[in-house]
Amino acid sequence: MATKARTRAKQVDAQGGDPAGTLRDYYEQMSLVRAFELRSGEMYARAKIGGYCHLNLGEEATVVGLMAAIEARDYLFTGYRDHGYALLRGLSPERVMAELFGKTTGVSGGRGGSMHLFDAETRLFGGYGIVGGQIPPATGAALALKYQESAGPDAAAVMCLLGDGTTNIGAFHESLNLAGLWKLPIVYVIVNNGLGMGTTVEKASAEPELYKRAASYRMPGLRVDGDDVLAVRDAARDALQQARESRQPVLLEVMCYRLRGHSVVDPARYRSPEDTTIAQQSDPVPSFRAELIASGVLSEADATAIDEAADARVTEAVTFAEESPEPDPDDLFAYVYATAVANAPSALPGEPVMDAL
């Protein structure tokens, strides 16, 4: 397991630093992601959710920090561990939960599922189930931005999220080379939770300090503590600023822990008890909550109210998803091609043959 970078002592400074309201917002977001993910796990166990389901549990501070840094005009690409990002990008818990349930009211009408959350309106360009699938398209989107806009503080940039294990696939290296060579406005964020399924970073990567891989592509690489929401936010903001203003791609490595198995069905038996203990001890949700209470930003009652509200919000989402209609098999052909293509299959198989007979 990689050692964590403690970029700075954990502290919340309601006076000198962020306004109390901002900190409270962050806690609300963390609490929402936590509640959503716990419930997703439950719904999966109750067979309401098909396919595979990868949770952001343990990564909430990273999710909130990154989503606090990205602007509405920016584009977000992510892997399959995408629920929290979609929620904080502004997709309603109802539509995200319905997508997990595979219902027509989901963000993609149930076609994408848990791993492929996509919403053009909020510039969330997926959700990718194939490891590394998101990295070249994100790089292409950054090339498009470079063509379409001039650099500056108001320019848009791309944020491309990926896991530690994903840095070993060819697409990662091909893309970073392009971005470095062409000076593209993109920030690649490695969410390093120490594990790719059951394989540790040390067992998978010749250079386990993953941010150092940036050197090969002449881009800045840096590592930040993923349990520290403010540190993540600030590092990501700086990186995005370089992308916007100087067309300088950046590789940002965010160190966190995966609280549970790789996906809901993984009991994670490969994990050592010590590692599980560390993961639990560094759980960012209770620690941020305790810090906010200690520093007077929240009272215990406030924090409890926030947690309860998050839970209630998720309950509404589940009810909505449960009550939404299932997809109609006849619609499966509706979005295969952009325009009607002569002679392309457009009906369930068997029927044309029956007519011919």
Partner: protein, 334 residues
């Protein structure tokens, strides 16, 4: 961890995962040049636990946990094969083979021909494939046609634990690359595995249920769907002859043509989309070679020509006994 399966007995009732495990283990015991490579296949034993226990028995030089890099895994296997090893690569799920597709189709498949027979390529690529487990795209697909289309590759798929045990060993002793498709929905049901002899060579297809009215052909998980269809048909007085293809490339046509001589009617089935598919190939060949014995056009029952659908509607996408029987009715009515 579970103990290794005892293969010194006459037979055992095993799920396909265990039969594959026993086949891999047998091959590793028989030949020290056999080694396994893949993501999380060591201490985790693979996502489906097919390689469970093998790293403990054979060590981490023969059971290699690799980084996440399909192109690297398959390309490395090619190099190992050039120097006399017999690598068996695990791809976690059907949809994850494509980062390695270039190494398979551009290199692995052509190496022997390119070097005028100067080397052999004994590489097995194991791919859990197919649907029925509610797992949406990338995790339930049937990409066998891409590989069957590529000269130089052998492509097989067992439908039951006995065949899985034997076909795995034969694939590993093959001096050509074998793409070994494991029907993941058949991983868990138990079946009898006889350890004395296979009974059927790797590339033979086989009549698994005799019948007289309509021949139905399929591979992998389709074989059990066809057996269910045959039971239902029997209740209606229709007799289906069920053929398990087993080998997708090359295809053993003798049992198929022999059966069609008898029935005059053929329905070919597959989970993959029907367009340019293995079923299309069989239909075309039977039309070429048995035109005068056919009493009806050959019909295909396939997945839809769409990306793999959401879990809730996958039962429509995947051919069911009912869809097979509709096609049976049509060829009978013709």
């Amino acid at each position: 961890m579970t103990a290794a399966t005892d293969t010194s007995v006459a037979s055992a009732s095993l799920p396909m995962t265990k039969a594959l495990n026993a086949g891999l283990r047998r091959a590793m015991l028989d030949d020290p040049s056999v080694l396994l490579m893949g993501e999380d296949i060591g201490s985790l034993g693979g996502v489906f636990r097919v390689t469970e226990g093998l790293i403990a028995e054979f060590g981490d030089k023969r059971v290699l946990d690799t980084p996440l890099a399909e192109s690297g895994i398959i390309g490395t296997a090619i190099g190992l094969a050039m120097r006399g090893f017999r690598p068996v690569c695990e791809i976690q799920f059907d949809g994850f083979v494509f980062p390695g597709f270039d190494q398979i189709t551009s290199q692995l498949a052509r190496m022997r021909n390119r070097h005028e027979g100067g080397l052999i390529m004994p590489v097995v690529i194991r791919i859990p494939y197919g649907g029925h487990i509610g797992s949406i795209e990338h995790h339930q697909e049937s990409p066998e046609a891409y590989f069957a289309h590529t000269p130089g590759l052998r492509v097989v798929s067992p439908s039951n634990p006995h065949d899985a045990y034997w076909m795995m060993q034969e694939a590993i002793t093959s001096n050509d690359p074998v793409i070994f498709f494991e029907p993941k929905s058949r991983y868990w049901p138990k079946g009898e595995v006889r350890f004395d002899e296979s009974g059927t060579p790797l590339h033979a297809s086989r009549v698994v249920r005799a019948g007289t009215d309509v021949t139905v052909v399929g591979h992998g998980a389709m074989v059990s769907v066809l057996s269910q269809a045959a039971d239902l048909a029997q209740a209606e007085g229709i007799s289906l002859e069920v053929i398990d293809l087993r080998s997708i490339s090359p295809i053993d046509y003798a049992p198929i043509l022999g059966s069609v001589q008898k029935t005059g009617r053929l329905v070919v089935t597959q989970e993959a989309p029907g367009f340019v598919s293995v079923g299309s190939e069989i239909a075309a060949t039977v039309a070429e070679r048995a035109f005068y014995t056919l009493e009806a056009p050959v019909l295909r029952v396939s997945g839809f020509d769409t990306p793999f659908p959401p879990a809730a509607v996958e039962t429509h996408f995947l051919p069911s006994p009912d869809r097979v029987l509709e096609a049976v009715d049509r060829v009978l009515a013709y």
